[in-house]
């Protein structure tokens, strides 16, 4: 198998004018969809799937794939500017992205975000090109024990989130876990905290809670501190002298972050079901533990934004591997792509790439081009987005309320979820005011159900024995990597640091 021959053939298919046009449309639509809170890649794909009917399958799939990773680029913009993640994979990007914007570095943050997305996406495609067969082995070595361990690894980020007041942080996370148990129990089918309501059977959906807690909660808090009265200024007193472009230092300090984020993100993305959220969280906590100044994370550290951004884009590329090599959709978004394949009469499975080389390699080649297109679009669009934070807060505030509300509604056309978003907004304000951690709550809400289901499946399989985690090769790998990330790397960077900063970090 000559990989480069295949790739060249793919390029020759992707680069036809009509396919390039589809790719461009897909990239733009994906970005727009990603920017709106509530719309993630999967919602965007599902909405736009019908548009591709009647198109030639190669062009259509290239366009759908571009919407998918384009939405990953756009999703971070509101995380940085408004502290409102549009989907779970960009929650981690708010941790340092929004503080950066508040420090007056919104421009550099957005540019670095686009660069990080580009690096993550491109490294992801390179790895698909050369290592797809190898990684299909990775995606077939994960069962419930490994998912449980992965969820636990994601939860390590909670430790970072909980921060200074551990009691309140832990209470926040526990509230998230508690909300995560609402709904019908997978194993027994018994309703938990549903109180007979059909609306609660499905559990509490993540999007309205996240948009409310972060977006509205932050907004109310800003009014509490009186930001709307601060003359003509926007979210920050944007310094006209401040550079729009990232400094050389931004690039230099984050170049290894990008490498780590890309590889970590891709590997986690390859695992069906784990995906971009866990990847971005793991990248964030990894970066913090290897950092020379972990105490700066959460206050607007560029590496804290770059890490999750590279990782979630690399993960969205990685998720193509189980789809292309096994026919298993690893996420809601790739499931829509799978459905699209099947609608065109293609049968994804282990023989897919062999039987449809033009389509498979055309798609892979188009992902290189798509990432380049998205980088260029981002760079051009960023000056426009930066204008947002120059809008006076007393005008921007009400508009943010409107966008959060209508964005939340549009996901499931649900009034209940819209009201839930308002309730979460009010609770989020008090949490912020009294030192609780909304981020810990949201992450626990995402990871809790995953951990509970996987643990109960694991214990059923092992007849109640915990030894199963030590008997499986993949589990041992995860445990090993966790030990390195949590114990070895922080120790190493601590020794490498001057003693003064080390003491400061310990407080």
């Amino acid at each position: 198998m000559d990989v480069f021959g295949d790739l060249l053939m793919g390029l020759s298919i992707a680069i036809t004018p009509i396919n390039m046009l589809y790719l461009l449309i897909g990239a733009i639509v994906g970005m727009v969809v990603g920017v709106i809170p509530g719309f993630g890649p999967s919602a965007g794909l599902a909405i736009l799937l019908p548009v591709t009917f009647g198109m030639d399958p190669t062009g259509a799939i290239m366009m759908l794939a571009a919407i998918y990773y384009g939405a990953m680029y756009g999703g971070t913009i509101t995380s940085i500017l408004l502290n409102t993640p549009g989907e779970s994979a960009t929650v981690a990007s708010t941790f340092d992205g929004y503080p950066l914007a508040k420090k007056g570095r919104a421009g550099p943050a957005l540019v670095m975000q686009a660069v990080a997305s580009f690096v993550g996406g491109t490294v992801g495609v390179i790895l698909i090109t050369i290592l797809a067969p190898m990684f299909s082995q990775v995606s077939r070595s994960f069962g419930p024990p490994e998912y449980f361990l992965l969820a636990m690894m994601g939860m390590l980020t909670l430790v970072v989130m909980i921060g200074t007041n551990w009691k309140l942080g832990l209470i926040s996370a526990l509230i998230g876990f508690a909300l995560g148990t609402v709904g019908v129990d997978l194993e027994t089918g018994q309703g938990r905290y549903t109180f007979g309501s059909a609306e609660l059977i499905g559990g509490i959906y993540f999007i309205p809670v996240a948009i409310g807690l972060f977006g509205l909660g932050e907004l109310f808090y800003s009014f509490y501190v009186g930001m709307h009265r601060s003359g003509s200024g926007g979210i920050v007193q944007y310094d006209k002298e401040a550079s729009f472009w990232p400094s050389a230092e931004d690039f230099l300090t984050t170049r290894m972050t990008m490498v780590r984020g890309s590889i970590l993100g891709f590997v986690v993305g390859v695992i069906p079901g784990a995906g971009a959220t866990i990847a971005s969280l793991m990248a964030y906590s990894t970066e913090r533990s290897v950092s020379k100044a972990p105490e700066k994370f959460g206050t607007g550290e560029m590496a804290g934004l770059v890490a999750p951004e590279t990782a979630n884009n690399a993960a969205s590329s990685g998720a193509m591997i189980p789809l292309l090599t096994l026919g298993i959709p690893g996420s809601a978004s790739t499931a829509v792509l799978l459905a699209a394949f099947m609608l065109w009469g293609l049968r994804p499975g282990p023989l897919f790439m062999e039987q449809n080389p033009e389509l498979a390699w055309g798609l892979i080649a188009s992902m290189y081009l798509g990432n380049m297109i998205l980088l260029v679009i981002s760079i051009f669009a960023i000056p426009l987005f930066v204008q947002i934070i120059k809008v006076p807060y007393r005008i921007l505030g009400p508009i943010v309320v409107v966008i959060c509300t209508l964005g939340t509604f549009s996901v499931h056309a649900s009034f209940i979820e819209t009201y839930l978003m308002f309730a979460a907004g009010i609770i989020g304000f008090f949490m912020r005011l009294y030192g609780f951690s909304p981020a810990a709550l949201v992450l626990a809400l995402v990871l809790g159900p995953l951990a509970e289901e996987a643990l109960r499946q694991t214990l059923t399989i092992s007849r109640g024995s915990g030894m199963i985690f030590l008997e499986r090769q993949a589990s041992l790998w995860i445990i090993g990597v966790t030990i390195v990330l949590v114990i070895v790397l922080p120790l190493m960077s601590r020794y490498g640091r001057s003693s003064g900063t080390a003491e400061k970090a310990g407080t």
Binding site: K167, A178, Q190, L455
Partner: protein, 149 residues
């Protein structure tokens, strides 16, 4: 207020824990971890930690008394948001947004009636065009259809 919020968390946590013990089984009939395993563990931890945090807060006393002006603005904004949620159900996404923006901007952005009026119309129109025409996504329908869209 901090104490009131912690008491509210404690009340919610206690109720959650009560339901976990009353309605949900710790183990299934075949002896696996049941639907109540996690809720009971989580609930007990919430209650204990909240009591702890509450005792800390009581010991510190009520240090953070904010001035009434700050609260007035936040409470007003929350009230306006709740009104928006209600009008959304009644008038639908488009009209409710026009009303909400007109009222909120009139309060917050005083003395600029032309700017406010323009914003109250342009923002909903742009959102409507983007959601309904381009993205084919749903806007909240109203109980009373006044506008033919």
């Amino acid at each position: 207020m901090r104490i009131a919020f912690l008491l509210a968390v404690l009340a919610g946590g206690t109720y959650y824990t009560y339901v976990a013990f009353a309605d949900l089984n710790f183990l299934t009939r075949t002896g696996r971890l049941g639907p109540g395993f996690f809720p009971r563990s989580i609930g007990v931890m919430i209650v204990l930690l909240t009591i702890w945090a509450l005792s800390d807060a009581l010991r510190q006393g009520r240090g953070d008394q904010a001035d009434a002006g700050r609260w007035r603005d936040v409470v007003m904004l929350m009230a306006l948001a709740v009104c928006y949620a209600v009008t959304l159900r009644v008038f639908g996404g488009f009209l409710a947004t026009v009303i909400y923006l007109a009222v909120t901007l009139a309060v917050l952005n005083r003395g600029r009636p032309v700017q406010n009026a323009l914003l109250s119309v342009i923002v909903p129109v742009v959102i409507y065009l983007l959601f309904d025409r381009v993205l084919n996504a749903s806007m909240p329908p109203g109980l009373v259809d006044i506008l033919p869209i």
